[in-house]
């Protein structure tokens, strides 16, 4: 029988207000095996931990139950503390009486009864615990970054600078992501290309970085320190090494009717194309949907004109297999589709555009060479109306219930840039709230209103319609309590942003958790914001939630530092809660082998001595370095020969027993 100590935490008033601590301590004291029970205001504080350490020594405790917050919060803390006092860290169990009791049950009597039941379950479990020793696993010193936008590039550069090899997988033919499409950045108004393209070049030329563009990660197996990824490199139909990016093919291609994705479909591109002038790699790609050769087996003109002989219509998708120690998700975002907001007339009127389209219209490298003009007829606009929160903060099926965070600032930027360049244009912005939390952000917004004469109207727009060749914007002005109608030449919608559609698949492949909006979940909202709860998976940029460029870059760097912290280690301590097969019981039936997702179970012909009978048997053997401790095998095993350390059949049944006792 173990000597068990029970420590009940008040968590200030978090627990003590709705659980009778004295009763819990008293109830714990009479449980079999409990030799010591006490309580303290903050068990997790240094003073609280000291109480535990002293008690372990004084009462010769070999099992400890902490009754406090969720084990997901402080289990590691108390295990470390146990180690400090010479106790095996796995002789500690946590009874979660905060999240599962005090915070949800307001009635103190009810809460106390439940707390006692959970404490008894933890005592029952710990009395069957056995000391466990962690093993070690190796670390592959290479990182994978999924996504080649500013987030992924910054993370990759930081990791590469620390001396580790990084692969960046980008699904599009070029790196750069959304930022490459942007004209200027807030609040400094420096040109996006001027700050992004040097980073793209840095990444391309860095000896530790390999850019794998026009590729997607197809599957990932393994675990922290040794992931195995399969990457599908899509056929470009252009030899990446041979192509010089001269652009002759683009000029000669007779199929020029495909919408130019990079310019948000505002103009067309040929079937063989380089996405934009600063694309990296600066090589062409053939769109198999529209290429005449690939669709109808005619033409092939590009092949004839290419001096570098880079065009290769026989190219096939290629699968690349690589091993990595860490994986960073940087899948980014896309603006939502706004055609569902039919009252705003996006589908009906060419002059109702999204903000990203406006970026392209104002970009010197865009379809109009940076000249702001109406999409419908190319004429100069005189009145432009911006509508914010299109789809943001919207609980209905057509929108997103969160704030997209960046729209207030980029709309202000657009308004300011237009007023600066074309003082004759009247600019009006409809807003719900202006959110400018950030260094120099509110000042920027005030400048737009005060110095640049942008009109801000608090209210939303009810409809946009055409009348006498003009657009009319009907909205409410909540300050003057009026419904107003404004004539406009152009209307710009600040569309909400959403997680890139690839995020869900990537998260599922990495078994990283994802929230209801398809943003990846961080391990801890405050303390571990760039790590996924799945070890070895890190988050960079908007895949975790809306953020602007400075925040993205900061988070990208933080993710890199976490990756570096992982890759510098030569060995990782493995979870000792692994499956184990009992030689005397195993029948060698292979059920566990068939079910193991990690290939951690193998078979050995082994000589056993079973009560005097010596024979060679086929036995399951678990490789503790590969086993991740899911326990699926233990259920597949009919005889119960396979069990899971730390969550043994007997331990779980003891918990069941304690909980069900009436």
């Amino acid at each position: 029988m173990l000597n068990i100590g029970v420590f009940v935490c008040w968590c200030g008033s978090n627990i003590a207000a709705t659980v009778d601590i004295d009763q819990v301590v008293a109830a714990a004291k009479i449980q079999p095996g409990v030799v010591f029970a006490t309580d303290y205001q903050y068990m997790c504080s240094e003073a609280g931990q000291k109480i535990m350490r002293n008690a372990v020594l004084e009462h010769k405790l070999d099992g400890v139950v902490i009754c406090a917050c969720s084990p997901r919060m402080h289990e590691a803390t108390f295990r470390k503390n146990a180690e400090k006092s010479g106790l095996n860290p796995f002789m500690v169990e946590i009874a979660n009486i905060r999240e599962h009791v005090s915070w949800i049950h307001k009635d103190k009597a009810v809460g106390t009864v439940k707390a006692i039941a959970l404490v008894n379950a933890a005592i029952a479990k710990v009395s069957l615990n056995a000391p466990l020793i962690s093993g070690e696993s190796s670390v592959t010193k290479r990182a994978l970054v999924i996504g080649g936008g500013i987030a992924g590039l910054q993370t990759a550069l930081d990791i590469a600078e620390a001396g580790f090899e990084v692969d960046v997988v980008e699904k599009l033919p070029t790196i750069g992501g959304n930022m490459a499409k942007i004209d200027k950045t807030f609040p400094t108004l420096d040109c996006a290309a001027c700050i992004l393209t040097p980073k793209m070049v840095d990444a391309a030329s860095h000896e530790n970085i390999e850019l794998i563009t026009y590729s997607e990660v197809e599957s990932v197996k393994g675990f922290v320190g040794s992931f195995k990824a399969t990457i599908r490199k899509k056929a470009r139909y252009v030899d990446e090494v041979a192509c010089t990016g001269c652009g002759v093919c683009m000029a000669k291609c007779p199929s020029k009717k495909s919408l130019n994705e990079f310019n948000c479909g505002l103009n067309n591109r040929p079937s063989v194309y380089i996405p934009f002038a600063q694309a990296i790699p600066n090589v062409a790609v053939i769109d198999p949907q529209s290429c005449i050769k690939l669709t109808r087996d005619k033409c092939g003109l590009c092949q004839t004109v290419c001096e570098a002989k880079a065009i290769d219509f026989t190219q096939k998708d290629e699968l690349i297999e690589r091993e990595y120690g860490a994986i960073v998700v940087a899948t980014g975002f896309q603006p939502i589709k706004v055609d569902k907001f039919d009252e705003l007339g996006y589908s009906q009127n060419k002059d109702v555009i999204t903000s990203l389209e406006l970026e392209r219209l104002m970009n010197a490298a865009g379809p109009t060479g940076g000249k702001l003009q109406k999409v419908s007829d190319g004429s100069h606009p005189h009145d432009i109306v911006f509508i914010q929160c299109v789809g943001s903060r919207d609980c209905t099926a057509r929108g997103k219930n969160y704030c997209s965070k960046i729209c207030c600032m980029y709309t202000t930027k657009h308004a300011m840039l237009i007023r600066d360049k074309y003082p004759d244009i009247n600019v009006t912005v409809f807003y719900i709230d202006i959110r400018t939390a950030g260094k120099n952000y509110d000042e920027f917004y005030r400048r737009a209103a005060e110095d640049y004469g942008v009109t801000y109207i608090k209210g939303q727009v009810g409809k946009v319609y055409e009348e006498d060749g003009f657009l009319v914007v009907q909205g409410s002005d909540l300050i003057s309590n009026e419904q107003i109608k404004i004539k406009a030449d152009m209307v710009v919608l600040a569309a909400a942003i959403e997680a890139d559609p690839s995020a869900k698949k990537v998260a599922s492949m990495l078994t990283a958790s994802i929230d209801t909006n398809n943003f990846l979940t961080e391990a801890h909202a405050k303390l571990r914001p760039v790590e996924s709860p799945t070890a070895g998976i890190f988050l960079s940029g908007v895949c975790q939630g809306p953020k602007d460029i400075p925040e993205t870059v900061a988070q990208a760097g933080a993710a890199a530092s976490k990756v570096i912290g992982l890759l510098v280690k030569n060995k990782l301590v493995t979870n000792p809660c692994v499956a184990i097969a009992d030689e005397m019981l195993c029948s060698g039936c292979s059920n566990c082998f068939n079910i193991c997702p990690y290939g951690a179970i193998g078979y050995e012909e082994k000589l056993v001595n079973d009560h005097g009978i010596r024979e060679t048997r086929r036995l399951a053997v678990v490789n503790p370095a590969l086993c991740q401790g899911c326990g699926a095998c233990s259920v597949a095993c009919p005889s119960g020969a396979m069990d899971l350390l730390g969550f043994t059949n007997k331990q779980i049944m003891a918990e069941v027993d304690a909980i069900c006792k009436k």
């Binding site: 019981l585 029948s587 597949a636 119960g640 069990d643 059949n649």
Partner: protein
């Protein structure tokens, strides 16, 4: 049948004589016509007692499990349905295929002596069967019964005369019985109200004396140590205060053999209390067919059974508990 028995004996004799095998697993004559018992024949002289008659229903495949570590080679006599069990045992590495010589033998259905006795017939001296009828000689005279009435439960739903695994065949031309719908009774139970089902099973299972005959005869129950005897499982309860094992034995057993049970019917055949235990297993066969597509345990060796497999859009347990499994 007489002719077939002779052929088997001759072949067994050859195999033993030539040293090709060290033993033959077959049936040994009992005191009466109707009580042959499984036996291992290692000497030619013993082969006189080898028999193959209308009462050799026992599935011999499981007898190989105990021989897995033996360096001797055994021949085993398997009826078509028994070969499914053999395949399943091979899949689960519970037998050593290289030490087994499988003689597939023909079958035209085996009889249940209890059913004959239930017709008021006693003092049986000889039994001969055609495809439809059975002539029974007794010390009180002869009677003739329709074969269908007195078949073993498993033969009523015979799966046909194909041996799915064998090294040689003897008498495979025999005509197996025409099967009834094997899920008829399961479906009938399913159609009852929950209360009726509960009463049915309470009536049946309350007779259980926990003799473990079902477990011991079952070719799928081959664990070296049964979970109910495993001190680490947390559910062993021998002579303890807990009744868990007693109450839950049949549910757990059915679950443990689910997707591995070939529906050979041994459990019900051997049950001294005549509890229709095969219905539990057959319910799982039916469920698995309906939920995850048709599956027959043991029809191919080395296949992954549906419980160590999955599909992306499997039926939800919620659907099963809400609608009773109607997808």
């Amino acid at each position: 049948m007489q002719g077939l028995e002779k052929k088997i004996k001759d072949r067994a004799s050859e195999l033993l004589q030539s040293g090709a095998v060290d033993g033959i697993i077959g049936w040994e004559k009992g005191q009466f016509e109707y009580d042959p018992t499984p036996a291992v024949f290692t000497k030619e002289t013993g082969l006189d007692n080898l028999c193959y008659n209308n009462f050799c229903g026992a599935n011999l495949s499981k007898y190989l499990v105990g021989k897995i570590t033996s360096d001797k080679k055994f021949a085993v006599l398997l009826k078509p349905c028994d070969t499914y069990s053999m395949n399943q045992l091979i899949t689960e590495h519970r037998v050593n295929r290289s030490n087994i010589y499988i003689i597939g033998i023909g079958c035209n259905g085996h009889l249940n002596v209890e059913k004959i006795k239930a017709q008021g017939i006693s003092g049986i001296t000889a039994v001969s069967a055609s495809d439809d009828h059975v002539n029974i000689s007794t010390i009180y005279g002869d009677s003739k019964l329709a074969k269908k009435e007195i078949l073993l439960g498993k033969c009523e739903v015979c799966r046909g005369n194909v041996h799915v695994i064998f090294d040689e065949l003897i008498g495979e031309e025999l005509q197996t019985p025409k099967p009834d719908d094997r899920f008829e009774m399961v479906a009938k139970l399913e159609a009852m109200t929950a209360e009726e089902r509960f009463k049915f099973w309470q009536g049946e299972l309350s007779r259980c004396i926990r003799c473990n005959a079902c477990r011991n005869a079952c070719p799928a129950c081959t664990c070296r140590v049964c979970v109910f005897d495993n001190g680490r499982s947390g559910i062993e309860a021998k002579a303890n205060a807990s009744e868990f094992e007693e109450q839950m034995f049949h549910i757990i057993r059915a679950f443990h053999v689910a997707a591995r049970c070939t529906d050979c019917g041994e459990c019900s055949r051997v049950c001294p209390e005549n509890i229709p235990l095969h219905l539990l297993n057959r319910k799982y066969v039916k469920d698995i067919n309906e939920f995850y597509g048709d599956y027959q345990a043991g029809d191919i060796a080395e296949q992954r059974n549906p419980l160590v497999n999955f599909g992306d859009d499997d039926i939800e347990p919620t659907t099963v508990s809400d609608k009773g499994g109607q997808k």
